[in-house]
Symmetry: C2
Subunit: 343 residues, 2 copies
Amino acid sequence: MTLPTPAPAPATSASPSARLGIGLDVGGTKIAGGVVTENGEIVHRLRVSTPPGADADTTVEVLRDLVDRLRDRHPEVAAVGAGAPGMVRWPEGHIEYAPNNAYRGLALRRRLAEATGLPTVVDNDANAAAWAETCFGKGKGRDNVIVLTVGTGIGGGLVLGGALYRGQTGLGGEVGHIIVNPVDGHECGCGAVGCLEAEASGTALRRMGRQAAEREPDGPIATLAAGTELTGEIVHQAARQGDPTAVDLFDRLGTWLGVGIASLVNVFEPELVIIGGGLVQTGDLLLGPARTAYGRYAFARDLRPLPPITTAALGNEAGIVGTAALALAAAHDAGHDAGLERP
Amino acid sequence: MTLPTPAPAPATSASPSARLGIGLDVGGTKIAGGVVTENGEIVHRLRVSTPPGADADTTVEVLRDLVDRLRDRHPEVAAVGAGAPGMVRWPEGHIEYAPNNAYRGLALRRRLAEATGLPTVVDNDANAAAWAETCFGKGKGRDNVIVLTVGTGIGGGLVLGGALYRGQTGLGGEVGHIIVNPVDGHECGCGAVGCLEAEASGTALRRMGRQAAEREPDGPIATLAAGTELTGEIVHQAARQGDPTAVDLFDRLGTWLGVGIASLVNVFEPELVIIGGGLVQTGDLLLGPARTAYGRYAFARDLRPLPPITTAALGNEAGIVGTAALALAAAHDAGHDAGLERP
């Protein structure tokens, strides 16, 4: 088997006393890995493309190779964590289903542990990112935090009472699949109608952008998209140029996001709501209307200061940092079910 | 001050070794109290009417008198718990706001502890009832349970990881205030639009019944309501007689309930969803369409058995049983914040 060539990445060295873990982020198009200190600092990075159509065996092989190469640089790593999108059973680390990967029913935790000989955890990637944000980002020192990752889809994680809450078998915490618009909502990738993800994600923005371009074939969105694929970024560009149609689309997107945040806050009463993911870079275009709707739909909004909404501090590497942190905690506890301790 | 006359209640005796707690359920129209064993058995009951317009002092006085009379019969009681509807800070037991009571900002836990000299806890009544159902009812032995109480409003509680989850200050767990219908929903008592409570409660059923009676002034609902107030019970009667309009109202109510349950299950992945409250007595009229909608809106519904929906085992006295259980656990731990241990 020929492994894809890794992207070059600079290496730095960790302080000799720090415990090190490996974090792996298994995506549909790329797989990223890193050696991470217990303070959440990445000291070495590698990245490979996900082999197209990679089945379970190929995926495990790629991950093993990544781990081997990371350990060559840092032989003292104490544990491995991997995060993957989709349905991941916890604590088994069994990936039932990953929407953007070919494998199904992959017992990744067991297979990675066998392949590497290291204590291993495998979690949903959004959980891992939320954990990283709570340990090392804006949620540091907080016990109750909701993290929403707004990108192509909407993922996220729930930190309740100082620990990740995953539900009975790891399928909970699907904050993108609370139902906000069952009446005239859109079909979600999950098959239901009106999920938050179907109304407030990058996919929803692109869908609305396409419709707007059809309605206004000479408008800024259609003009910017001429000869190329209409993306959320094009809608963003049009909005930044002041196109009222594009700004209105962000209003609608943000309003749905705010309704979803209100619904979650009414149930969880967290200290803080952290929004990450690609769409956060659109700033107040998205977050302005989100905050307005949040203020309108939140319970007891006149009787208390509402938990604030803030943007994530960690970027794309939150998944690597979070899985490494979960792995180090689990290895430290020397018990698999206890991988919830904060560093 | 003249105290209202208590309703007569038969007394039974507890096994001498059992630890006993007092549970109090502070409602808008009546206040119920009971001496409860650590197995959730009520061995003595009292009930008084809530004095109309009772302020904080009067309310505390009524509760103190109830506790005194219960202790006369069972001097060995070890702790007192009180549950009240509305916004209750935990662990402070400070009632910020109770929609059906006149008092505001009542530091009930402190005042009851001072008045009785006993270890005291005060919680939201729906939390207490959910705890009772988890300790002694259908949720026994389960770690992750959602309880929804469908009556005039929709309350409930979240048992996550074996403990009541209340949010950062006790204002979480408002399962009746997830937003299910922001597009063309109704204004909720909380001021927001489209809360589950505004669409799927007894109040929603009555509202829909009134509208149906206006549309069909000679129909069964209007006929049954002639000369009396139109209530949810009248709609229930019409539905039992086979009136398609009334059955359709239950379909709509149940569908909203199912959407709400799906939304909660997608986030919490509990082992079990328990439905209590007055409307549960309408059986499959409500729960049939609720189960159908739940199956349609639940995440990953084709990839796993969904957590089942069941009806509550405990009735009206769940509040008394739950507050007593919380109080005994807190007294046992001799720490106020730790009142979460299951008996």
